[in-house]
Amino acid sequence: MKREGMWSLKLSTAALVLIPVAIGINYIGKFFAELLRLPLWLDSIGTALASMLAGPIVGALSGAINNIIYGLTVSPISFVYAITSVAIGLTVGIMAYKGWISNLWKAIVMGLVVGLVAAVVSTPINIGFWGGQTGNVWGDALYAFLLAHNYPVWLASFLDEIVVDIPDKVATIVVAFAIFKGLPKGLISLFGGGKEIEKL
C-alpha cells in the first residue's frame, strides 16, 4: 500500500474531521480516568490515535488544538502545555509511520519514548511556570525530597515529571494501540493509508 509522504500538508477532509474526534477522545479518556480514580491522566489517547491513523501533522494539530480548546473551556494554564501535546503528536506519528505499532512490545517501547519526549518538553515549562513542580502529589514529593538533598532544580523537576509521564504515556499508547488494532481496515484507510483505496 503506497502512502503519501509522512509530512504531507495536504489534509484530507477525513483527516480534518478526525481532529475534533481525537480531542473528544482525549476528554473522555481523562473523564474515565477520573471516574475510575486511576492514578494516571490518560488525556492524550485521542492525540496518539490521530497520529497513528493520519500521521504526525494531524497528530500535532490535534495536540495543539486540544490544549487550545481545553484552555478555552476548562483551565487557561493548559495553553502553555500545547507544545508538549504537539511533541506527543509528532513522536507518535513518526514512530507509527516507521512501524512501531506492529505489535504490543513495540507499542510499549513507543510509550516509553513518548513519555521521555513529553518530560523533556514539559520540564522547562514546569520550571518557568511552577518553579519546577507538576502538581502531581507523588512527583512533587520526589521533587521536594531531591531539592532538600541539594539536587539541582532542573534534575529534580525532570524526575518529578518523568515518574508521572512514563507510566501515563505507556498506558496511553497501549490503550491507543489496542483501539487502533480493533478498528475496521476500511476506517484506517480512510484517514491516511488509503489514498489509493478511498478518496474523499
Binding site: P20, G24, Y27, G29, P76, L147, V175, I179, L200
Partner: protein, 255 residues
Amino acid sequence: METLSLYVDRDSPVHRVDPISKLLYILAATAIPIILPSLLTAAVVLAISVALLLLGRTFRRVIPLISVIVFVLLTILIIQGLFRAGNVTPLFQLGSLIFYREGLLYAVRISLRVINIMLAFAILILTTKPSDLFETLVRKGLSPRIGYVLSSVLQIIPQMQNTVGTITDAQRSRGMETEGSLAVRLRAFIPLIGPVVMSSLTQTRERSIALEVRGFSAKGKKSFLNEEIQEPYHRFIRWGLLLSIILALVWRVAA
C-alpha cells in the same frame, strides 16, 4: 445546539471589545512582568486584570478557575520556602521547619506570574464567545478549514459526553465493575472507552462525506455568517497595548 464554553453572556464594555485586542492583552500581561521582573509590575498588571474582570461583571466566575491552581501554588510556597537552593535568611519557624525569605519571595513571584496569566486568559475566555473568537481569527487569515475544526470540537465534546453516559450505563447493566481494586478499575477502562471511540470514529466517515457534499473543499472566497463589528476605539486599544510592551522594553534597556 449544546456547546462547551466558559463564556458568560453579559452586556459590558469588556464584552464589546474585539477578540484580537483581548489576545494582545494576554500578550502584554504575560510579557510585561517578564520584561520588568519586579513585584510592583506584577501587582499593577494583576490590579488591571481584576479591574477589567469586575468591569466585565465576570469576576465571580474566575474564582473556581483560580481555586484549581491555588493548591499547587501553596505547595510551591511550602517547598520553595523550605528547600530552595540559595535560601539563607530564615524568616520564621514552624516546629522544626525553617522557612526562608528567598524561597518564599521566589514562590510569591511565581504565583503572581501564574495568576496574572490565568486572569488575562480569563478575560478573553469569559467575555468572548468561542465562535466569535474563531470567526475573527479566520477573518485575520486563519484557514477556514482549521476554523471549522475549532468550532466543531466544541459541539462534538458534549455529543460524545452523552454517548459516554449511555455506554457507562450499558456496561454497568452487564455487570462490569467500576469500583474496587486498582486492577479492577484499570480493566474497566477499555470496555468503557472502546465503544465511544469506535462509534465516534465511524461517524467521521459520514461527517466528512456530508461536508464534502456541501462544498467544504471548494476553492474560492468564503463568506461569514456575521457582519464584522469595527469600532474606532478597537484600533486605539490594540496600539495602546503594543505601545505598552514596547515602552516596557525601552524601560528595561534604558534602566
